[in-house]
């Protein structure tokens, strides 16, 4: 085993081992548990950054384990996996800190943090997967590890949401499995690094390959919450706030979106998809999802539900960008939105969690004047919300800018209309929240004020959203610098020679 392979294993183990130990720890050892969690996530970030540096300088990270003839388990560190792995590991650290503060004193914490660590291990596995079979494996494991987190509260409502999540996720998984096997039968094993199978298959199996593409997209579309496969996501918001953050920004929805990117860029490849002519279909689904999600978000009074519908809409920008895969600028927009949406949405969910944990606020109608009580939380929320609308200099603007430029370069004028309408609706459902929080007067007492102290809320709850909000601003302001997500995404796209 060479050092590159060791590094890949170490990246996976850095959250797996703490997870296993945490399962075995007694409930009351919360200091040790927190220490393990934090050490694991810091080590993971360090290792992922090391891998990024290696990838940047052209070092190969690859592990191949043959399973059965023709099927092998393949872990591969390429620039795209580095993007997702970095996002997940950085946000995992912040979410862990947040979760420690959030769940203070609640039961079953060993259980929770154990699954939490496993979930991140699996997400990194998805990021590092080097072929469809490996991707499928981790993708199914993700469902299994997130289910206990969704039903963590154990209430009737959360059990129902969990059941629904399982039904959706496993049916999606089944479709995905069929598609993967079928594809393997038609074109043989496809490594992601090959950037698409040979176009000679299109002449002989054109229709079948188009059908398989549709099945693959349906398979990952469940987790990416493409309409009409999105039903589980708004229900899953009954889970605790850190889990919502995980579902929406770090792991599940992101895994779906990442799957779309892999299928389009690496399994089929831009040229094949253009020849197959299936991209307009993807564009159509993405557009419907964006608009439908935005409109549904408008109608919600429950803050987390509104954020959930907003996720449905925002994640589809990635699918929309991938539907214009022949345009490098659109691909940049899509890939960078994977990171940007994660940063913005996690900020919003952290803040929503703070409101619920500190003042018992769950509904937007209860938020009048809350910014006077919790100015820092609401400042972070405002940054995230303005980012979602796409106001400069936040990262949301950067994503939309590249999507728009890419669309125009490909002659898709309708895309500008979609972006404009969606920005307007985004403003329509985010600005009233900000106005209510900052400028309206408080009406009566807070629903359930639970924390009074030196800061507006517990420090462990306050710091993570402030950090992510800062990144949302800073990564937009220095978008052109060498260290920004945008720079890395440009590096990825250069590799594909679109």
């Amino acid at each position: 085993m060479n050092s590159g392979q060791l590094l890949l294993v170490a990246i996976l183990l850095s959250s797996f081992i703490p997870g296993i130990i945490i399962f075995c720890l007694p409930e009351e050892k919360h200091r040790l548990r927190t220490l393990l969690n934090l050490c694991g996530s810091i080590v993971k970030i360090a290792l992922v950054l090391l891998m990024n540096a290696g990838i940047y300088y052209g070092y190969v990270f690859e592990i191949r384990i043959p399973l059965i003839p023709g099927v092998e388990l393949l872990l591969n560190g390429d620039p795209l996996s580095a993007l997702f792995a970095t996002l997940s590991s950085v946000l995992w650290l912040l979410t862990t800190i947040y979760a420690v503060g959030y769940l203070e004193g609640s039961p079953n914490r060993s259980h929770f943090f154990g699954y939490f660590s496993l979930c991140v291990t699996v997400t990194i596995g998805i990021a590092l997967a080097g072929n469809l079979v490996t991707f499928l494996l981790f993708y199914e494991m993700l469902t299994l590890t997130t289910y206990p987190l969704v039903i963590h509260r154990g209430t009737e409502k959360s059990l129902r949401a969990g059941r629904n999540y399982l039904i959706y996720a496993f049916s999606g998984g089944a479709v995905f499995l069929v598609a993967v096997v079928w594809l393997q039968a038609v074109v043989g094993p496809v490594d992601f690094s090959a950037a698409g199978f040979s176009s000679s298959y299109l002449d002989t199996h054109g229709t079948v390959l188009a059908l398989i593409f549709a099945l693959l997209i349906i398979g990952v579309g469940v987790k990416a919450a493409l309409v009409p496969l999105h039903g589980w996501l708004p229900q899953a918001m009954v889970a605790p706030a850190p889990v919502s953050a995980l579902l929406h920004a770090v792991a599940v929805v992101k895994a779906g979106a990442f799957g779309i990117i892999r299928i389009v860029l690496d399994v089929y490849g831009a040229q094949n998809l253009l020849l197959l002519g299936v991209l307009p279909l993807l564009a159509c689904i993405a557009t419907i999802t964006i608009l439908y999600g935005s409109v549904r978000a408008l109608q919600q009074d429950d803050l987390k539900r509104r954020l959930a519908f907003s996720t449905i809409s925002q994640v589809s920008y990635i699918a929309l960008g991938m539907s214009m895969v022949d345009q490098p600028l659109a691909v940049i927009g899509a890939l960078v939105h994977l990171v940007h949406q994660g940063l913005m949405k996690i900020t919003l969910f952290f803040c929503a969690g703070n409101l619920a944990e500190t003042l018992g606020i769950h509904r937007i109608s209860e938020m009048s004047g809350v910014a006077r009580r919790m100015p820092l939380t609401m400042a972070a929320f405002s940054v995230g919300a303005l980012g979602m609308i796409g106001i400069p200099p936040t990262v949301g603007f950067v994503s939309k800018w590249y999507l728009g430029l890419g669309g125009l370069a490909g002659g898709h004028w309708w895309l500008l209309l979609v972006l404009a309408v969606s920005s307007l609706i985004n403003a329509w459902y985010f600005l009233p929240i900000l106005i209510r929080a900052w400028f309206a007067k408080q009406q009566g007492a807070w629903p359930e004020e639970m924390y009074v102290g030196r800061f507006e809320t517990r420090l462990m709850l306050l710091v993570p959203p402030l950090v992510t909000a800062f990144i949302v601003l800073a990564a937009g302001l220095v978008a052109n610098a060498e260290i920004s997500p945008l720079a890395w995404v440009r590096f990825i796209v250069r590799g594909y020679s679109l």
């Binding site: 303005l386 404009a420 307007l424 600005l431 052109n480």
Partner: protein, 568 residues
């Protein structure tokens, strides 16, 4: 000898101070240091003023890492806009320094004030499309905090309207920027030169910046916002922030390099409509801020017309640019000094003295274009420019401009009456307010006379026939105003006679009703009830007309004194 790279860094640093210092102060407003920061408020404008006066011309620096490629610099247009904005913001910060006392002084107002200021300076210095958009958004969104600052129902309604139109403008701008970036292949403002515009691009630019300019039909926010914004901030709004829209047009549709006759017609027609509409709406308003807002709609309409004329062809564009800038400078200084005058009235707890009245008449009548004021110079420039364009546009100078000048005269006289009767309270900061008002009046009166580029127009404006024409227009405006007062009062007296006597009034009513923002209209039935209930006091007020006559007479005398003073 300083190396070139160091010099670039120095310039970049210097330029970024213009927006950086106010922004930093805004950040400090969130800390316990806020009291001190508020005391130092006027200093926030000093870097911008210094840059406008000292940085050598055409300095452009690239800051590659900043927001997808930052470009900053100061060109000739930028210098004028920056000096103007810095001056207006300086006065505004002087008079808002002690605006809020006690519990209200929680730094929130000043945070928005300073961020809006930073955005305003930043966008002037921006030489890239995205930089302009960034600072434009920063200014516009912070200004929302100023609009709703009072927190009452009116303010929140005004804010709702403001943010609604703002978002439409933002999205239009975002879309058009993508289109421009795609067509130009670059993000620098220089890259725009010489491209051919599609109709959609023109319309989107018209909407995107038109919201700020308050052009029809995107004007809805202006009147309510000017009404609810704390007055010094409203002065900054009217004197500086709305100019960001004009500068946006100048930057993205550079005059002299663009020729687009269809787009030109859009600007001219809408601008002309706005010029008339503003007057009609303003005459119905009873609150000084609202009247000034309506006047801004009208004046910005005129500026829109000038801009439209400049789009007709490249030659016209070359001539339009200096006229446009002249008009912008004139309007900003006059309008902000009217706001400062209004601020003084609100603060001093008693009626204006005759001296103050004379002083406030100066910018008011300057807007109306009375001879010997800066307005006369600006209007002469406009007329000569329009006349040089040949038929049909030269008709503007013979017919349209005198009509709007009369309208503005009416509106300004109405403003004076309103301000005489506005609610007064004794608030702190009277002295500062007096000084600010005096300074703004001097600036409004003197600037264009000292303006090197306006020499020709200044001398033409006092030439025999122009002088006479100006006086006639003014007298016409006064007469029309008196007639309007008479009609509008008799119209409101006996319910039976209304139909017969108030044709003009009902037209006005219908027009305002149709064009006005819906949210501010009470249902028609309610209005009727309220109207009936008010009939009795209305009768009593009618008896006081004579009293008002006296007011008009007095202002007339004051005006003559002013004239005399200027002649000497």
């Amino acid at each position: 000898m300083i190396p070139a790279s160091l010099q670039t860094t120095m310039t970049a640093l210097m330029l970024s101070l213009a927006a950086g210092v106010p922004l930093l102060m805004a950040v400090f407003c969130c800390t316990p240091l806020k009291k001190r920061v508020i005391r130092l408020l006027p200093w926030a404008t000093v870097p911008a003023l210094l840059i406008a006066l000292t940085v050598p011309g055409d300095a452009v620096v690239e800051v590659g890492w900043f927001f997808m490629g930052g470009r900053m610099g100061l060109d000739a247009t930028g210098r004028i806009f920056l000096s103007l904005s810095a001056f207006v913001w300086l006065l505004a910060s002087f008079s808002s320094r002690n605006l809020l006392q006690g519990s209200n002084a929680d730094g929130r107002f000043y945070r928005f004030f300073l961020t809006a200021m930073a955005g305003n300076f930043g966008l002037i210095l921006a030489q890239g499309m995205l930089g302009y958009y960034l600072f434009f958004a920063m200014m516009s969104f912070s200004a929302y905090g100023l609009v709703v600052f009072k927190g009452n129902e009116d303010a929140l309604n005004a804010g709702r309207l403001y943010i609604f139109l703002l978002m439409i403008g933002e999205v239009a701008l975002f879309t058009v920027l993508i289109i421009l970036a795609h067509t130009c292949g670059g993000l620098a403002l220089e890259d725009i030169a010489g491209i051919s515009y599609q109709p959609l691009t023109i319309v989107l630019l018209f909407i995107g910046f038109g919201v700020k300019v308050g052009t029809l039909p995107l004007h809805g926010w202006m009147i309510p916002a000017y009404q609810t914004t704390p007055i010094p901030a409203a002065a900054a709004f009217a004197g500086s922030m709305v100019n960001a829209g004009i500068l946006g047009w100048l930057r993205f549709l550079p005059l002299g390099e663009t020729s687009c006759p269809q787009g030109a017609v859009l600007f001219i027609v809408v601008g002309a409509l706005a010029a008339v509409y503003g007057v009609i709406v303003g005459l119905k308003r009873k609150q000084a801020g609202a009247v000034l807002g309506a006047s801004s709609i009208s004046q910005m309409g005129l500026i829109t017309v000038i801009f439209g004329l400049g789009l007709l062809n490249q030659d016209a564009g070359l001539h339009a640019a200096p006229v446009l800038i002249l008009y912008v400078v004139h309007h900003s200084l006059a309008k902000s000094s009217l706001f400062f005058g209004y601020d003084l009235v609100e603060r001093q707890g008693r009626r204006l003295s005759y001296l103050q009245l004379a002083a406030i008449l100066l910018p008011a009548l300057s807007l109306a274009g009375l001879p010997f004021t800066s307005g006369a110079i600006a209007k002469t420039a406009f007329k000569e420019f329009a006349a040089s364009l040949g038929e049909p546009w030269s008709g503007l100078s013979t017919f349209f401009l005198p009509v709007t000048a009369m309208g503005t005269t009416m509106l300004m006289l109405h403003f004076i009456l309103v301000i005489r009767h506005s609610r007064r309270s004794d608030k702190p900061g009277r002295t500062a307010s007096q000084i600010v008002f005096a300074l703004s009046c001097i600036a409004a009166a003197a600037t264009l006379w000292l303006w090197p580029a306006a020499d020709n127009f200044a001398s033409h404006s006092v030439a025999g026939n122009k002088l006479l024409q100006g006086l006639w227009t003014f007298a016409g405006g006064c007469l029309l105003f008196l007639a309007w007062r008479k009609i509008s009062f008799t119209a409101e007296v006996p319910a039976d006679d209304r139909k017969r006597k108030s044709d003009f009034n009902s037209i006005v009513n219908t027009v305002t009703h149709l064009l006005q923002e819906k949210e501010y209209q009470q249902p028609l039935e309610n209005r009727l009830v309220i109207f009936l209930r008010r009939l009795v006091p209305q009768l009593r007020r009618t008896e006081k007309i004579m009293g008002r006559w006296k007011v008009v007479g007095l202002s007339y005398i004051a005006l003559c004194l002013c004239l005399l003073f200027l002649l000497l």
